[in-house]
């Protein structure tokens, strides 16, 4: 009897803790989804009723029309898509190129170059944003895509990942291609790149999300409504419509949908993307 109780109690505690945590993580997301269809009165009713009384689609039209009824949200979504996609592409391109160069070529100063790139991990963006802002003002690229994209073209972490991955790539393949007369850039584009698909997937998701989530840099660079990105839009919308909770949640839901679709279809790479940090141990 004693033994049995000892076995069951820890099990109950385990399940209870896991369940409470599950409610804690999922309830706010469910709250966003369900309240995006509610009137503000229903959202703040005590006690809260999780089922919308009627589907209040006007929240979504308010969210898309925006503060000035000019549908700027659609333009801001496009901006976020352009910036995030460009950053993802350039990160993959530059990180693979550099990672390949560091992993498979012997040249003087290779180690120094690698250490230098790793060193940039110590420089937080938040500490260099003021000088970067001055650069942007000097070059007159405020309110441009170039200004939004430029500081994020490649990341040290991406290069590190690519290098680690390519170090184990069999050199014989590369030599065989060289014997066949393939150019060095051709080898990179036709042999190396197609063979690092998992890292490419992880890295592009990481880079894409980083910009999708970025509020600070667009806040500095984009002052014109037309060049703002989604986080700025949500922030301005929430500020102006602070009493229209339903519309706020509709805007938040719309902003999250693309990311959720990506997450559902590429879960492996999202979750893998966080554990790649582990390899830094090695």
């Amino acid at each position: 009897m004693q033994i049995q109780r000892n076995n069951i109690l820890p099990k109950i505690i385990t399940y209870l803790v896991l369940l409470i945590m599950l409610l804690f993580t999922l309830m706010p997301i469910l709250f966003m989804i369900t309240s995006s269809m509610m009137t503000s009165r229903q959202i703040l009713r005590m006690p809260f009723n999780w089922i919308p009384e009627k589907f209040n689609w006007i929240n979504f039209s308010k969210a898309i029309k925006g503060n000035d009824f000019n549908y700027i949200f659609l333009r801001n979504i496009l901006n976020s898509l352009i910036v995030s996609t460009s950053v993802a592409i350039s990160t993959v391109f530059l990180a693979s190129l550099t990672g390949y160069g560091l992993a498979k070529f012997k040249f003087r100063g290779r180690h120094a170059v690698f250490m230098m790139i790793m060193g940039t991990m110590m420089i937080p963006f938040e500490a260099i944003m003021i000088p970067l802002y001055m650069v942007v003002m000097m070059l007159h690229i405020q309110n441009t895509y170039v200004g939004l994209i430029l500081p994020f073209l490649v990341s040290a972490f991406g290069i590190f990942q690519m290098r680690q991955y390519l170090t184990t790539f069999p050199t014989e393949f590369l030599d065989a291609a060289r014997v066949d007369g393939m150019g060095e850039f051709g080898i990179y584009a036709k042999i190396v790149l197609p063979n690092c698909k998992p890292v490419i997937a992880t890295l592009s998701i990481l880079a894409f999300r980083g910009q999708w989530d970025n509020l600070l840099w667009p806040l500095l660079v984009s002052q014109s409504e037309k060049m703002k990105t989604i986080p700025q839009y949500i922030s301005a919308f929430a500020e102006e419509r602070s009493t229209d909770e339903g519309a706020m949640m509709a805007a938040a839901l719309l902003a999250s949908l693309p990311m959720f679709i990506l997450f559902m279809s590429l879960t492996k790479y999202f979750i893998g993307g966080s554990s790649v940090y582990e390899s830094r141990k090695g």
């Binding site: 997301i29 160069g101 110590m122 003021i130 000088p131 802002y133 600070l216 500095l220 949500i234």
Partner: protein, 310 residues
């Protein structure tokens, strides 16, 4: 002859390798090294963004101003920012570390693989939302009539009490910590699950044969072997917390008081961008940089020396 030719190939190879790393080197020089040097340089000047006057050299004046003791009591001083950052970092990363470790151990001990996967994905789901969306959701939950009060009052059986989530200085800090904790918990749980999975099961078998119970195996095997992951996760969580900005910005722009959540990054933004004191903001940036650099060096040091052989 052959030797000479070989050396020629080697030189050619070296040139290609250099060519491949060159674009990134240029990028890092222009957008990382130049700005950080520039931040140090600018921090010695009284530089205003819109002023036509040439920046005035003030030596350590900006730093002296930041750390002037007479400002310590000022609610918006840099001392307060250091305090707000420290409180936020400790208050977020300690619960994150402890709870993510516990949850990871619990999940790893589950027998059903589907339950494991479901829990990992569910815990991770908030991380998919952007920080701005996360803050927006929680701001409504923290409304006086919102779910936050209803939940807490339901658990504590204190009907009708308003916790003043976004009004009271202490509660406002707690609220930012909850939002951040909620967004990142799944991420750290997964890091720990990966770390736990790398411990060879044979060790547990051996311990069980030797008569160790679950409790003993956790403290004697799991935890010591997990130490590298613990160090890695703590430093990463700390670095992450030091850089927090969006949550504080969102809460502030929606009318909450600034002083309790005026973390360093937020102070840099207000001072440098809104008030246009670039020199002073640069000095703050340098302080932030030094703090993060020390932490990162610590991480490199510990991960280098703590490699465990199983």
């Amino acid at each position: 002859m052959a030797n000479k030719k070989y050396r020629g190939i080697e030189r050619k190879q070296a040139r290609w390798g250099f060519l491949f790393v060159l674009p990134s080197m240029l990028f890092f020089s222009l957008f990382n090294f130049y700005p950080i040097i520039n931040a140090f340089y600018t921090s010695f000047f009284d530089k205003r963004a819109l002023s036509k006057l040439a920046p005035k050299f003030v030596g350590l004046g900006n730093y002296e101003r930041l750390f002037r003791l007479s400002t310590a009591a000022n609610p918006l001083s840099f001392y307060n920012s250091l305090r707000a950052t420290l409180v936020f970092t400790l208050g977020t990363f300690i619960p994150l570390l402890i709870l993510s470790l516990i949850l990871a151990v619990f999940i790893s001990n589950l027998s059903s693989n589907r339950a494991k996967k479901f829990l990992q994905i569910s815990y991770y789901a908030p991380a998919v939302l952007s920080s701005v969306v996360a803050a927006t959701i929680w701001m409504i939950i923290f409304d006086p009539r919102g779910l936050g009060n209803q939940w807490v009052n339901g658990i504590l059986h204190t009907p009708g009490v308003d916790r003043r989530w976004l009004v009271d200085p202490v509660m406002e800090q707690v609220s930012t910590m909850i939002i951040y904790f909620w967004k990142y918990i799944g991420y750290f749980v997964i890091l720990f699950i990966t770390g736990l999975a790398s411990i060879p099961p044979t060790l547990y078998e051996a311990a069980t044969i030797d008569g160790a119970n679950k409790n003993q195996t956790f403290w004697r095997i799991t935890l010591p072997l997990l130490k590298p992951t613990v160090v890695l996760v703590s430093v990463m969580a700390m670095l992450q917390c030091l850089k927090t900005f969006s949550t504080q910005y969102m809460i502030y722009t929606n009318g909450a008081p600034r002083a309790p959540i005026n973390v360093i990054t937020f102070n840099i933004y207000i001072t440098g961008i809104q008030q246009q004191y670039l020199g002073r903001a640069s000095a703050m940036s340098v302080v932030l940089f030094i703090m993060m650099m020390l932490l990162t060096l610590l991480q490199f040091q510990t991960t280098k020396s703590e490699n465990v052989d199983y």
